[in-house]
Symmetry: C2
DNA sequence: CTAACTGTATTATAAAACTAATACACTTTT
DNA sequence: AAAAGTGTATTAGTTTTATAATACAGTTAG
């Protein structure tokens, strides 16, 4: 079951979008697999200290995007084929990277400098992710 | 004068935050210099097709951060010393890059792959920025 | 000086995001 | 079968974001 263990609530954008992002990235990473059960709306609500309606909004949008499937009474399940998975991968990788590149450009950072910085920061936070 | 020529209104987050981001990145890039005049609130409002109050909110927050200085009646001016400039640079570069690195990690992308992707996307959009 | 422009302030409205408290029917578990 | 858990729906209220219409006093340019 998708437990949202390593999910961290940012102070950035809307919560329901953060949840959608988390699921999509998990699918791309392979840590969230097809057929897997989602944690229930109420349980996630309690876990994050967030209103159930906010979770419902996220889950509802995930269903509209054809990423999860809900039948009344039972837990929602992930339902993505390989095509969708690849779509999401391409879309997210490009989108996030393009945003970063544009940010670096607007700050007048050269390609070499930007890549070097990214590599440095990558190595810094290296110990935390590999458990 | 800061004309906001190359400013593009995203559909992402709040408009007033996009304006603040634009100014900060411009300062880091050196395209926005100390002492320079800001475009007036009304003029920018008309240029972006956005309510004057939204611009005022952005300018007000920029002043609270000590980035611009406003005297009633005259145009607001940028007022940042080298220390502030360096603070903003460090903060923005780190913040944006860390966000990208974390995104790539959460998608299970390796360091080499991520950096290669960034380099490819950097070269793609290369013709547009150098005029 | 005068007219135009500027920053600032006020009040009102609306949509989006989030919280709160329920309620009901369906599924799973015991 | 009964209880607990689940998806779904409704109504109400708050905060944030953005719009709209003015108004006033200080600065600048003609």
């Amino acid at each position: 079951m998708i437990s949202f263990e390593d999910f961290i609530l940012e102070e950035d954008g809307p919560i329901y979008l953060q949840i959608i992002r988390y699921v999509k990235r998990g699918i791309v990473a392979g840590s969230i697999r097809n057929g897997e059960e989602m944690i229930s709306r109420r349980a996630l609500s309690a876990l994050l200290g967030v209103n159930p309606n906010t979770i419902q909004k996220a889950y509802h949008l995930l269903e509209e995007e054809g990423i999860i499937r809900s039948r009344s009474g039972a837990k929602s399940c992930v339902e993505v084929d390989e095509g969708q998975k690849e779509e999401i991968r391409q879309s997210l990788l490009r989108q996030e990277t393009l945003a970063w590149v544009q940010a670096m450009r607007q700050m007048g950072t050269g390609r070499e400098d930007a890549l070097a910085l990214a590599e440095r920061i990558w190595k810094e936070g290296g110990g935390k992710e590999e458990r």
